[in-house]
Structures are given as C-alpha cells and as structure tokens.
C-alpha cells in the first residue's frame, strides 16, 4: 500500500518535471529566434552617403594647378591624363599632381584620426587596367559612409571610391 502511494507520487513528480522541461525548451527556442533575428540586423554599417556622394562629385570638378593652353585641368580630366601617361604644361607628371592634390584636398575636408569625428578614410581610383591611385589614413571602424562613382571617356572607364570611417 505504501509502495503504491510512493510510485504515484514519483509519477506525478516526473510529469511535473517533464512539463517544466517543455516550458524551458519553448522559452529558449523563442529567445534563440529573437536573438538570431536581432543580431542579423546589425552588420557593419556602410551606407552610400549623400554627403560623400556630393564630396566625390565636387572633387572631380576641382580645377587643379595642372595647366594646358586652354584651361586648368579638373581632377576628372587629370585622372584621364594620368591614365594616358601625359604631363602638365609645367612638365610635372600628372599622376604626381593628382596624388598631391587629392591627398591635401581630402585632408582639408575630412580630417581624420584621434580626436576627430572621422577615424579614418580610404580613397581609390581604378580603371579597366587596374589600380590608378589609392591611399588611406587612420583606422577602419564598423561605421562608414562612402560613395562610388564611375565615368567614362571613349573606351576608358574610371571608378572613384571614397569611404570615411567614424
């Protein structure tokens, strides 16, 4: 009689444990699904920014010190001049002028490093043949804003990319 009672108590205890385990499993599945969907939504932010888009457009329109008889070449003209291996009127290598101009222009407009809102940047120009010019400064962080713009002259196609990290 006492044995039967003990067996009954054990059975009901086991049933409660099974119920508790089922509840824990259901709750943990819900948590895993929620955490999974939440973590999926926070990859590295790399937005094509309106500000960076404008900046790239503006630097392409800048008139450099590289002169021809008609005008001071814009950065856009100078890129093609560099790709074609031409020189400025002053006999300076167009790629050297392009490199100097772009570096000082970006340094003046997007100062980066410790104590600045932007921690670093990357700039590169590529053509069909490969890399024309590229430089970077500072650290790459998870948050960035950038712009990619392409343009062509005849058969030559150029891609300009700028990314600022903050």
């Amino acid at each position: 009689m006492i044995k039967i009672n003990l067996n009954k108590k054990r059975k009901s205890g086991q049933e409660e444990l099974v119920g508790f385990a089922i509840i824990i499993i259901i709750v943990s599945i819900i948590l895993v699904v929620f955490l999974g969907s939440y973590l999926k939504k926070s990859p590295i932010q790399s937005a094509n920014s309106y500000e960076a888009d404008n900046f790239v457009q503006v630097i392409l329109q800048y008139n450099t010190k590289c002169e021809t008889t008609l005008k001071n070449l814009t950065v856009q003209d100078l890129i093609f001049s560099c790709v074609e291996g031409q020189k400025c009127n002053t006999n300076e290598n167009s790629c050297v002028v392009l490199n100097q101009t772009l570096k000082s222009m970006i340094e003046a407009s997007w100062p980066a490093g410790e104590g600045w809102p932007y921690k670093g940047y990357e700039f590169n120009i590529t053509s069909k043949e490969g890399n024309v010019l590229s430089f970077s400064k500072g650290n790459i962080t998870r948050n960035s804003k950038g712009s990619m713009q392409d343009f062509a002259k005849g058969q030559e196609q150029i891609l300009v990319g700028f990314t600022a990290y903050y």
């Binding site: 509840i23 709750v27 819900i30 948590l31 929620f34 939440y38 939504k41 309106y50 500000e51 404008n54 900046f55 457009q57 503006v58 630097i59 329109q61 800048y62 008139n63 005008k71 001071n72 814009t74 000082s104 222009m105 003046a108 407009s109």
Partner: protein
C-alpha cells in the same frame, strides 16, 4: 472524512501551483514582449533621426541648386552641387530684396580647399581673396546643416578667362519648429 479533506487540499494546492505557473509564464512573455517593443521603438527612432538628417542635407542641396546659387551652364557643362561665387556676391549685395524667401535664418558658404584665405570673410573689397561668404549680416543661429559644393568663378589671367572651381561647403541655418 479526513482523507477527503486531504485530497481536497492537495487538489487546491495543485490548482494554486498551476495558476502560479501560468502567471509566471505570462509575466515572462510580457517582459519579452516589452523588450522586443523597446528594441523596435529604438530602431524606429534611429530611422527617424536618419531621415531627418537626410532631409536637412537635402535642404542644403535644394538651396545650392536654386537659380540664385547654381552654376547652370556658365562653366561648361551642367554641373551638380555647383555654386557660382560671382552670383553669390551679387546676391549678397541685394539680399534685403529677398526678405525671408528661403525660410531660413542664414546661409554661409565656406571654402574648404584650397585653404588660403580660409578665415577671411568676403566683402566686395576683398573678393575673391577670402574664404567665407555670409549671405545675411547676422550670426548663424538655430540648427544648421551643411553639404559639399563646388565653388566656381571666372578668373582672368594672361589675357584669357578661365573657370576656377574650388571645394567648399554650403551651411544653411534654420530655426527648428
């Protein structure tokens, strides 16, 4: 009799246990729901702030592309985000005729590159050897937004007129409603 009372008590205990469990599970789900709700609201707030910032940037570009500012075809082909500096200086002289036309408190145009004359405010006597054009002669107040623009002008040198475009920013300040 005693057995029946014991059985009744045990059943009541079971019912109580179950109701406590149901309440606990319910509270847990409510808490999880609240966490999800807070996270979603935070996400919405971030999106709203982002949209507001984009709108503000569009305001700067809208002003830069208005006929009183834009280069149009004066510098070869049509350029986007291009401000005609000569036009701006003429506009500055007649700004009182415009009143509150743009609905903003001030507009400032700053040359960021080249860096010569960077901190010199432009007037008709020192233009173009200056770096800041303040359209209204009053301090910048309220919120402000800026965006990059080309600052173009005509330069006369060695008997020819050449185009000269620099890098600059247009800074639009407005009172928040």
């Amino acid at each position: 009799m005693v057995n029946i009372i014991r059985l009744n008590k045990r059943a009541q205990m079971k019912i109580q246990q179950m109701s406590f469990m149901i309440i606990a599970v319910l509270i847990f789900f409510v808490l999880v729901g609240m966490v999800i709700f807070v996270v979603r609201i935070n996400g919405l707030k971030k999106t709203a702030t982002g949209i507001q910032q984009e709108d503000a940037l569009y305001l700067a570009s809208k002003v830069a592309n208005s006929p009183e500012f834009t280069c149009g075809n004066a510098f070869g082909t049509q350029k986007s985000a291009c401000v005609d500096m000569d036009k701006i200086m003429a506009l500055k002289e007649n700004i009182n005729d415009y009143g509150n036309f743009w609905g903003i408190s001030n507009i400032e145009i700053i040359r960021t590159y080249p860096t010569d004359y960077n901190n010199i405010t432009c007037s008709s006597s020192n233009y173009p050897n200056c770096g800041i054009i303040q359209l209204y002669d009053k301090p910048i107040s309220g919120s402000d937004v800026s965006n990059y623009v080309s600052l173009c002008r005509k330069v006369y040198s060695e008997g020819t007129v050449k185009d000269k475009c620099d890098v600059g920013k247009i800074l639009v300040s407005y009172e928040k409603k």
